[in-house]
Amino acid sequence: MLIQFTLNGRPVSVEAPAHLTLLTVLRDYFHLTGAKEGCSIGECGTCAVLVDGELVNSCLMLAPKVAARTVLTIEGVSPADGSLSDLQEAFIAYGAVQCGFCTPGMVLAGEALLAQTLTPTREQIRTALAGNLCRCTGYQQIVDAIAAAGAQRKEVN
């Protein structure tokens, strides 16, 4: 079936079987491989993307569900000039990246939270990350990075 939606700021349409997940369509039809397959059952969050600003596990969402909606993947997070977003910079500065497999989902989970509040408590950040597993970092520097990016945005605003 024909699915039309907004992907990383651009209107797109794709002809794909209706039973495919959003993750499969993103990876196999749009060749956007930033969203990963980690478990296929919605437990690990490596496939996370934002749909209308909400963090979802794209491995559990059928692609037709995003018709007429906006989807943001990690590939759409950076500014158009190729530089890094403030949150991506914070991930690097605070050492929040190790193997990197969870990182796209973590950045998007951070963006989803910072859209709600720029001054989250550490507990709120941890709750916002609870659906994204990381086996390397122990989460601490990811929490640090999101808190710092929020504080920086607060200051700019």
């Binding site: 990963k36 980690g38 994204n132």
Partner: protein, 778 residues
């Protein structure tokens, strides 16, 4: 550090920009024209003989391009070191559920699955053993290979440590402890599952991209089982999405399966594992049963340790020979004794096999000894932290196995650091007085020592190449892999420091058996010391050429040269840029290319005597955990954590701290929730809905203290950190639970029922199947 530009200063991880943008491509992200998808048929029985295997029907399935079995490999694809007991694909017998039997490559994953379905495979089940205690019974079915020494074939290996005569000394000790402990298998749970991509070359060879730890070991196995000369096999390290010891054997098997299918079909072949297949097929941390007997004087002086452990290696040996040695060397903990015997035995069973996992034996034995030390302190009526300080190894002491510690010993300082940072004395006193109620709080401590690198396990060396490219950037290689640890950044910072160039000028190329130098395995927290020293020597060798060229250009002796940033300055005080020096060097005919190789000092271990120098240096550390236990449910929350580690020196601070935070989190999972439980050989948790690992909500904010007792042979004094960061976390948490509840959990994991009831509840017998269609035939 005085005068250092980059070492120990905040730095940008060299591969971080690609990772935060999603540009890093892991094996599953690789897509080539004409690429086939591979999948394995796996055993549904824990132990069986293959009575019939006919793969030809698979070739009639539309889309299937090639099928392979053990017959497609030299010597049936047998491999393994030091025990050669594994096969790339099962040969005649299967010894665990999930063992690969045949592999299919097809146009689509669906066609590959249909091809597997068409294979005719008949397995006749054999009697099996699942309890390590029964593995050596005279009538136990044979799992391990034939032995020529008359021992039971299910006996794999044993290691000992010997000091004095504990059997005579123990009964004379006024205070004695005798307790049994056990740890369960643990799943690595790297978020990227296994994968490999093989591409046939026009010369009849193969190029393999693999999510492996040690590309040179992979090449050696590939060349051997494919019957190809080493120069026809090239392994290029793909980015690795987490490993923790877990990306060895299974990735080598997948690499060889893909390579054989690629050679047979003439097309690129990729294999990636769904999570369930990864968990079922992959090796685990070994389960171990341990008994600890300690003897002490009433004043608190430890006298005797007698430690026995039985390690379940599962169906294959993998690394268990080495794991049991590291376990034996560390089993008594970082304490002084008059008498100490350690005996670690490992045996084969028909459980999934055990292999390398962060800590490598020490994580297992530390759980036992560090709880036993606490129980002994209790018996003596002493504070457990003070008791450790009284008995811990210090500079100049001799270990129980007879090694004098001559430098870089920071254990007492680590214990003092966590005592102060955690508010130990005040909190221990306050929690001892807490009113009875459903919510109990507790504080626990554990210490660790952990030998750096391979030690007397084997030849210990690493090598790097370095060269200046046409665009004046610097290409650096290492034979060691950064699978998330930050080693690539460590090597870059070390080379930048030696050369006096910006780290951004250096490009660390990925390990590639055609372009980097063989450096042994990427294991044992050895990258910073071994790989770091190699990078340092390579950079020093390149620096000599650049200094020579600068002195020539600036017309002065080398000792008159100064550096301002990357530029050189001579007596005329006119700076010469990096580019000018490079150009001048080239005009002199110098090839700006160098290499460095570093070998660890030789040490000797006498395995018959159970004594010797085990490792060139030791990491020391101490953890304090604070817990809250709900006495109505058994739920334990870790509410505070303090970790002090003597790393020798810190090269890349965010990376070192990340290792500590991540290690603590893995230890927390090991302590409270993780259990890769086999029931009659069938793994019971096969995805993250049933195999729970800590989330951001489960891990508290951790206070990390890096102490620096420099080691003279380490690069800038650095030792190791990755494994010991995990090792003492679980016993610290269990000691805190005992402090909170007055009850001790001696078997991991300390889940709700063990904390609440003191024992595990029996589970249903409905589990004799794993997902992915591995249902037990009925």
């Amino acid at each position: 550090m005085a005068g250092r530009q980059f070492i120990g200063k905040p730095a940008r991880r060299v591969d971080a920009a690609d990772k935060v943008t999603g540009r890093t491509r892991y094996v599953a992200d690789y897509q080539l024209p004409g690429m086939l998808y591979a999948r394995c048929l796996r055993s549904e029985w824990p132990h069986a003989v293959m009575t019939h295997l006919d793969v030809s029907p698979a070739l009639n399935v539309p889309g299937v391009a090639a099928v392979i079995t053990s017959a497609d490999f030299v010597d049936d694809g047998r491999f393994g070191f030091p025990v050669r007991d594994q096969y790339i694909l099962a040969h005649e017998r299967v010894r665990h559920v999930g063992e690969a039997i045949a592999a299919v490559a097809a146009e689509t994953p669906e066609a590959a699955a249909a091809g597997l379905h068409a294979i005719r495979c008949e397995l006749e089940p054999l009697p099996a053993v699942f309890e390590s205690a029964q593995a050596l019974a005279p009538d136990a079915p044979q799992i391990g290979p034939d032995r020529s020494d008359g021992r039971h074939p299910n006996f794999l290996h044993s290691e000992i440590v010997r000091l004095g005569d504990p059997d005579r000394a123990l009964p004379q000790c006024p205070v004695v402890l005798d307790a049994a402990y056990s740890v369960a298998q643990q799943e690595h749970a790297y978020l990227e599952t296994e994968g490999a991509l093989a591409i046939p070359t026009p010369e009849g060879g193969v190029v393999v991209y693999a999510s492996n730890q040690s590309p040179f070991i992979n090449r050696e196995i590939l060349a051997s089982v494919l019957g190809l000369p080493a120069d026809r096999v090239r392994v290029i390290q793909a980015p690795v999405g987490g490993s923790f010891g877990g990306k060895d054997d299974l990735n080598y098997q997948a690499s060889a399966q893909c390579a054989a299918l690629a050679l047979k079909s003439g097309r690129p072949v990729r294999m990636t594992f769904p999570r369930e297949e990864s968990m079922i097929a992959s090796y685990k941390r070994d389960a171990m049963h341990m008994r600890v007997r300690l003897g002490a004087l009433p004043n608190g002086d430890l006298q005797v340790c007698k430690f026995t452990g039985r390690l379940d290696s599962g169906a294959y040996a993998s690394q268990s020979v080495f794991t049991s040695w590291r376990a034996a060397v560390h089993a008594m903990g970082a304490y002084r004794y008059e008498h100490c015997h350690v005996d670690i035995d490992c045996v084969y069973t028909n459980n999934g096999y055990a292999g390398a996992f962060r800590g490598f034996g020490n994580t297992e034995v530390c759980f036992a000894i560090e709880q036993a030390i606490d129980e002994m302190a209790d018996a003596l009526g002493q504070d457990p932290l003070a008791f450790r300080l009284r008995n811990c190894l210090r500079l100049g002491d001799e270990t129980a196995f007879g090694q004098r510690l001559e430098e870089s010993v920071g254990l007492a300082e680590c214990l003092e650091a966590v005592r102060k940072a955690s508010g130990w004395d005040e909190k221990r006193a306050a929690y001892a007085r807490q009113p009875a109620g459903p919510i109990r709080r507790g504080l626990g401590v554990a210490a660790v020592f952990h030998g750096t690198s391979l030690g007397a396990e084997g030849a210990d060396y690493a090598a790097s190449t370095i060269s200046v490219a046409e665009d004046y950037s610097i290409a650096l290689t290492s034979g060691l892999t950064d699978y998330g640890t930050g080693a690539a950044t460590v090597f870059t910072l070390i080379a930048a420091e030696e050369l006096g160039t910006r780290p951004e000028r250096i490009r660390l190329l990925r390990p590639d058996t055609n372009t980097s130098l063989e450096s042994g395995p990427t294991v044992a927290s050895r990258s910073t010391m071994l790989g770091g020293n190699a990078a340092r020597l390579a950079a020093q060798n390149l620096r000599q050429m650049l200094d020579f060229a600068a002195a020539s250009l600036l017309n002065c002796p080398q000792n008159r040269l100064l550096r301002v940033g990357e530029a050189y300055i001579g007596p005329s005080e006119e700076p010469a840029t990096w580019e000018r020096i490079v150009d001048h060097a080239r005009s002199l005919g110098l090839i700006l290319s160098a290499h460095g190789r570093w070998s660890a000092p030789h040490i000797h271990w006498d395995s018959q005597a159970g004594r010797g120098s085990a490792y060139i240096a030791y990491h020391f550390g101490a953890h304090v955990a604070e817990v809250t236990v709900d006495m109505r449910t058994g739920k334990t929350d870790v509410t505070g954590f303090w970790a002090a580690h003597d790393v020798g020196a810190t090269i890349f601070p965010q990376g070192a701290m990340g290792q500590v935070y991540g290690g603590v989190a893995q230890g927390l999972g090991y302590a409270l929730m993780e259990e890769a439980r086999y029931e009659a050989g069938y793994l019971q948790a096969t995805n993250f809905d049933t195999y729970l690992i800590p989330t951001a909500k489960d891990v508290p904010d951790i206070t990390c203290i890096l102490l620096e007792k420099p080691y003279s042979q380490g690069p800038f004094g650095a030792k190791n950190v990755a494994e010991p960061a995990m090792v003492p976390a679980a016993p610290a948490i269990c000691n805190a639970i005992a402090h909170a509840t007055g009850r001790r959990v001696r078997d991991l994991p300390a889940n709700l029922e063990r904390v609440l009831l003191g024992h595990a509840l029996s589970h249903s017998d409905g589990g004799l199947a794993c997902k992915i269609g591995l249902a037990r035939p009925r």
